[in-house]
Subunit: 349 residues, 2 copies
C-alpha cells in the first residue's frame, strides 16, 4: 500500500453515511489479542518481536476480510508517515512511537485495520461511519473468527482472552463512539454529562484518544474495563447510553435554533467565512471553526457544503496530512499558511 | 431634492479620486458667515430665524454655483432624514438637532453645501475627494464672492468676518482633511502624533466631527482658531503638515508589508471574509473591518474591490443610510441584520 495514494482519499468512516451521522462521526470496536506461544510485548526482545511480526504479517495479509488487507511495515516509515496513519485512526500513537518490528494491515476503505505488535500482539479494529455498533460487532466477530482459525490465541477458560494490560483481560474489547457535540459544549453542560458517564464506567476522550484534548467538540465515549463482562453486556451499556447523548445534543440544537437562531447563524456563517478567507490558520482554530460549520450544515444554516466534505477537512488539515498533501516537510508557520490555502481552495464556491 | 434619490448615489467626495486618495478620504473647507442686518442665532427668536431662513433660501437657490443648488428644509424633516444628511456630511449634527427655521442647499455631486441657521446664519462647505485643499479654496472663494454679491455680510475692518463663536472670528474658515490612518493606529504611534498636531494648534477629530470617536481609523485634522490669521496662513499650516502625515502612514504601511506581510494579509483577508459572511454586524465592527479592507486594497492585498466601493460602504452602512436603503425604521438588532445582509450582497463575488 502506497501511503501517498491515501492522501487522495478519506476513510469510509468519514463519509457521513449511516445512522445519526450528523452527530455520530463513527462507531468503532477494537479487540486485543495475543498469541499463546509468545511472551507479551513487554517481555519480548527484538528477535521475538520480529518473529511475531513475521508470522502475523503472513497471516493477516492472507485473510479474506473486507476485500483483503494491505500491510504497512510501520518500523520502516519515517515519522511523518507514522503521524499520518495516526491522524487517519489506522494506528495508535503508541504503535507509531514504539520501536522494533511492527505494522498494520488496512482494508481498502479503511474500515478495518489490524495492528501488529502494539501493546498486544494483535489489535483488531473495525470502524464505521455513523452510529452502527451492531454492524461493527458482526464484522469484528467475523474477523476475529478468521484470525482465530489461523493462529493460537492466548486464552484462559476462567479469565478469557489474556492481554498485556489487566483492564483488557476477558473479552479484550473496546467499544467506542465518536460524537460531535458542539451544542452540548456551548451550553457548558458537557462536563456534567461526562462525569455521569464516568460513574457508569465509560471513558470520554478527545478525537485522538487518551490525553488528547477534545478539539473541534469531538468526544469519544468508550468502555473502561472489560473483565467480568461479556461483549454483549459492554455493547448494551454503550447502546443504552449513546442514544441519550444523541438525543440531548439534538434537543440542545433544536432549542438553539428556536431561541437563538440569528446568533447561531451568525456564528456559523462567520466561521465559514473565516475558513474561506484566512491566510494563516492553526490546527486548533481550524477544528473549532469546522465544528461550527459542521453543526451549521446539520442545522440547515449552511447549504453549500456536504457534511462529508467537512469531515474530510477535519482530517486533511491535520499536520501530517497537510504535509503529505503538499509533499514537503513544513514547520508550524508554513503549515498554518498551507492549511489556510488548502481550506480556501477546498471551500471556494 | 428628494432624499430618497440620494440613497442610490454617493457624494463625489467618496469616489476616491484626486491626489493621495488611498490615505486622504477628502479635503474640506468651511466658512462661517453672518448677515449684518440680523442678530446672531443665539439672540434670534423664531420669527427672526424664519426671516433669515426665507431670505437666505431665496439667495442660495438662485446661485449659479457648482451646477446649481437644491434646497432642503431641515425643519420639516423627520429625525431619520436629518441623521441621513449628517452621515453624508451635508449638515452638522448641530443643525440636525437644533430647532426652528433652518435648511441646507446642496449641489448635485454633494461637493458643495450651504447650511442656513446653524451656529452662524451661513455655513458654506466645499468638499473634494482626495487631497485637494487648493481646489477647495478656489471653489470656496468663488462661492463666497457669489454670496457676498447678494447679501450684506457682518464684517468689521479690524476683526474681519464676525461670527457667533469667537474662535471663528476673522476669516471664519475651517480647513480640514479626512485621513485614513490604519497603519499609524496599528503602531500605537497615533496619539503621539495627535499631541504634536495640537501643539501647532491643529485639532484631530473622528469622522463625524467633534466628540465623535475615530471609528474606522479615520481622523479629521483641521485648524483650531482663525482669528489673526489669513486664509492663506491657515491653508499653509495644513499644507505643511498633511504631506508629513501622509508620508508617515505610507512609510508604516511599507514597513508592515515588508516585515509582516503574511500577518497583515491574514488580518485583511479575514476582515473581508467576515464582512462577506456575517449575519449580524454592528456599525463599529463594520467600520473597523472596512478599515482593514481599505488598507488591504491600497496595499494590493485585496484585488476585487475598488476603494471607491469601500468608501461607499462606510457611508451606506451607517444607521440612517441603512434604514433609508431598506425603506423602514429599524431598531439596533434589525439594523445589525440588515447591515450584514447589505454587506454580503454588495461584496458578493
Amino acid at each position: 500500500m502506497d501511503l501517498n495514494d491515501l492522501t487522495r482519499t478519506s476513510g469510509e468512516w468519514l463519509k457521513a453515511a449511516g445512522s445519526e451521522a450528523d452527530i455520530v462521526m463513527s462507531s468503532r470496536i477494537r479487540l486485543a489479542r495475543n498469541l499463546a506461544p509468545f511472551p507479551f510485548m513487554s517481555r519480548a526482545d527484538d528477535e521475538v518481536r520480529s518473529d511475531i511480526e513475521r508470522q502475523l504479517r503472513k497471516q493477516v495479509t492472507a485473510l479474506n476480510a473486507d476485500g483483503g488487507l494491505s500491510y504497512i511495515d510501520v518500523s520502516t516509515l519515517e515519522p511523518l508517515d507514522r503521524q499520518f496513519l495516526v491522524e487517519r485512526q489506522l494506528i495508535s500513537r503508541e504503535l507509531a512511537d514504539s520501536h522494533g518490528a511492527r505494522g498494520v494491515a488496512v482494508s481498502a476503505g479503511e474500515n478495518m485495520s489490524i495492528m501488529v505488535n502494539e501493546e498486544d500482539h494483535l489489535r483488531l479494529q473495525v470502524l464505521r461511519s455513523g452510529y452502527d455498533l451492531d454492524g461493527c460487532w458482526s464484522e469484528m466477530s467475523r474477523l476475529d473468527d478468521l484470525i482465530d482459525a489461523r493462529v493460537n490465541y492466548a486464552y484462559n477458560d476462567q479469565l478469557g482472552y489474556l492481554t498485556a494490560c489487566p483492564t483488557n483481560v476477558g473479552t479484550g474489547i473496546r467499544v467506542s463512539v465518536l460524537l460531535h457535540l458542539p451544542a452540548v459544549v456551548m451550553t457548558r453542560e458537557a462536563q456534567k454529562m461526562f462525569h455521569a458517564l464516568q460513574k457508569i464506567h465509560l471513558t470520554v476522550r478527545g478525537l485522538y484518544g487518551e490525553g488528547s484534548q477534545a478539539m473541534g467538540d469531538f468526544y469519544q465515549v468508550s468502555n473502561q474495563v472489560t473483565l467480568g463482562k461479556s461483549e454483549e453486556d459492554l455493547l448494551k451499556t454503550l447502546k443504552d447510553v449513546i442514544p441519550n447523548i444523541i438525543a440531548y445534543e439534538r434537543r440542545v440544537r433544536t432549542t438553539l435554533v428556536k431561541d437563538n437562531r440569528a446568533s447561531v447563524h451568525d456564528k456559523v456563517s462567520r466561521a465559514y467565512g473565516t475558513l474561506r478567507s484566512a491566510q494563516s490558520i492553526s490546527s486548533e482554530e481550524t477544528m473549532q471553526l469546522l465544528s461550527s460549520v459542521r453543526m451549521g450544515v446539520s442545522m440547515g444554516l449552511v447549504d453549500d457544503v456536504p457534511i462529508a466534505k467537512v469531515n474530510e477537512l477535519f482530517l486533511h488539515t491535520q499536520p501530517a496530512h497537510l504535509q503529505k498533501l503538499k509533499k514537503s516537510h513544513l514547520d508550524s508557520a508554513e503549515r498554518n499558511t498551507a492549511r489556510a490555502s488548502y481550506l480556501r481552495q477546498r471551500l471556494a464556491t
